[in-house]
Amino acid sequence: MTRALITGNAAAAWGGRLARMDYVPAFPITPQTEIIETIAKWTERGDIATRMVMYESEHSMITGAGAAAATGVRVFTATSSQGLLYGMEMLYTVAGWRAPFVLVNVSRGLASPITLEPDHNDIMAARDSGFLQIHCATCQEVVDSVLMAYRLGEDHRVRLPVIVNLDGFYLSFTREAVDLPSADAAAEFLPAFDPQGTEFRAGKPVSQAVAVLGGGTYSYFRYEQHLAAQAALPVYDEVAAEFNDRFGRLHPAIESYRAEDAEMVFVMMGSFATKAKDAVDRLREAGIAAGLLRPRLFRPFPRDAFRSALVGKKGVAVIDQNLSMGMGGVLHSELASALYGAPDAPRALTSFVGGLGGRDIAPAEFYEMAHATLRAAETGETPPPRLMYTHSELREMRKLQAAAHVERHEQDIA
């Protein structure tokens, strides 16, 4: 084991390196580029025996990733935002090939308007693709999650590709001290890639990804994929336990922070959850029993774990860094459906949308969310989803609009 001060992007590359990735199809996009540049440097210097190939688009890159996995090698790839969406047809397609590989997504908001800064709308769009999803909050988690993702996806009960998600900028470009497992320890945890019969060889003809006729056949294969994704829940727990035994770090499906005895619980994903932890501490100091649940595993959705973790709570505030237009936060909807009908479910389940396009969530906003949620629990009236925005942000926005107005009407002035 070595300790290194590295960025989230470098941590993702290290995850692939420790997993002894055979093949890396690549295409650049901010803020993912450092991942593929790091791997390119390693392969050019001969530090690793990986083959990296630049494709001409993410659609092709994901096709190539799936095709290589279906031929029998261990594949790592990475993208972000517009790239993930450009490849969306192939995300769904290759997931059905049941040829596991790992794709790192560095979350970034989607156009329009075009931005470079992070939120989770990109990764939420891949929600139903058939890829499993692990969401990270620290650089350490990124390395560990990539290794765990291979074990999970390659397990014979699962056989699905996995997305490991980290937030652009906040995690991708932030340096943290990371314990890098030794190559030997990583190899003991993650054995050599076993194609389990999914491969192309002369003398062993096989047709993969063939068409079907009729809803019965189609549904059979789709249900199988769903059941495999669900089977990944207990497999994940096994993998996490073994990882903990070997490396002394437990990464549960849902991270719980002071939530056991909390009466009010925040639920949110990704690196912004570290802000929520800080808010929990301060709320506790102020006499409010707050806590945090952070799902690392988003697909499969740890429904039962949420149900038992939230039983008897007064209020739950879900903070979504995504926005499903005309509906609200995606995680909120998912949690509502998971908790519906649960005995002794929380009295209030409030929805807050924040952190879009890298927008900060200030401590005061967390306090307000906590109070609003407790109020809802007491009155029994849940407020509609709230879009977080401060007065000072609105003032800044008004200034920009005023400038835009002046520019647009410049000719009138002249």
Binding site: D22, Y23, P25, A49, R51, V53, M54, Y55, E56, S57, H59, S60, M61, T63, G64, A65, G66, A67, A68, A69, A70, T71, G72, V73, E89, M90, T93, F200, R201, A202, G203, K204, P205, V206, S207, Q208, A209, V210, A211, V212, L213, T217
Partner: protein
């Protein structure tokens, strides 16, 4: 380059590898071509397929192929070929697979993929010098979806999206030249109706390494509107009229493998198909027929009659 084995028709393989009973239409020119190609390439192949008519060759749990198959999507079959090829190379390089277990990677796509949606992926594969064969059956339309106008639909042809009026006002895209401009290892045009010429080219392509294009005219009774019995005849007419030049690009030169010499007028070809019927009935459209003829004439005016090279 080694001498080709196929000198005469009787040299062609007598055992046929492709299974019968597929979902293709009776008289499908694309299927005819694939049958002939498969006899030469053999079963140590993996076909990487793009969405199109031929996707229905392998429908669970049946396949006519003795070798392997991977369906991808409409736009990215060359990228699928890249992934398969790279993985095979990796496996060989680190001893996880023997040389004997290696496969020829063959993209199988229609013209709509090859000249439209998939052109970006093809371009990438050529840039990377991918070692693969791109086998395109050109039925001159989006056949699987009902023969709408594609980048390869010929001028004047009626299609499902140019069903009334003058037919397609665009002109057939020159995919062969797009490939040749980028100096592939090999490129050739073929048609199932000329099996000897086809077999020679497939054999050559098989022996080479790098990006290789086999572009086949694929007469399509369903989309073009003719009796399925006439597929071979229409393929031959396409060659005799000069509408479909048979040629290859090898060692930096384009050479015509068949010079029609005294060409049959194009209308002999056009007349056979419903998609051009409006050029003859109810009133003859001499202007468009003459324009089509003039374009074919202009093409052949640049071809050397003796050595088949093109200026």
């Amino acid at each position: 380059m080694t001498d080709v084995h196929f000198q005469r028709m009787k040299d062609l393989p007598s055992t046929h590898l492709l299974g019968a009973g597929t979902a293709m239409c009776a008289g499908c020119g694309g299927l005819e071509m694939i049958k002939e190609v498969y006899d030469v390439l053999g079963e140590n192949t993996v076909f990487v397929n793009a969405a199109g008519c031929m996707t229905l060759l392998s429908v669970y749990p049946f396949t006519p192929f003795r070798g392997s198959w991977l369906y991808t999507a409409m736009a990215s079959s060359p990228a699928g070929a890249q992934g398969v090829r790279d993985a095979l190379d990796i496996l060989k390089a680190n001893g996880r697979m023997t040389e004997e277990e290696d496969l020829e990677v063959v993209v199988l796509s229609g013209d709509g993929s090859a000249s439209g949606m998939g052109l970006s992926a093809t371009s990438g594969a050529i840039d990377r010098g991918l070692d693969f064969i791109y086998l395109c059956y050109d039925n001159e339309g989006y056949g699987n979806t009902g023969q709408q106008t594609s980048p390869e639909s010929p001028h004047g042809a009626r299609t499902a999206t140019d069903a009334v009026g003058p037919g397609n006002i665009g002109y057939k895209k020159d995919l062969f030249s797009i490939w040749v401009a980028n100096k592939p290892a090999y490129a050739a045009t073929v048609v199932g109706a000329e099996p000897l010429d086809l077999a020679r080219k497939i054999e050559k392509a098989h022996e080479l390494e790098g990006p290789r294009l086999i572009l086949s005219l694929a007469p399509c009774p369903t989309g073009w509107g003719y009796d399925p019995a006439h597929t071979v005849e229409i393929g031959r007419l396409a060659v005799k009229t000069g509408v479909w030049p048979l040629k290859e690009y090898v060692d930096g030169k384009v050479v015509h493998t068949r010079h029609p010499g005294k060409r049959t007028p194009v209308e002999a070809y056009l007349e056979t198909q419903d998609r051009f019927r409006h050029l003859f009935e109810p009133v003859r459209n001499d202007k468009v027929i003459a324009e089509i003829q003039a374009r074919v004439d202009a093409y052949w005016a640049e071809v050397d009659v003796d050595d088949g090279t093109k200026a």
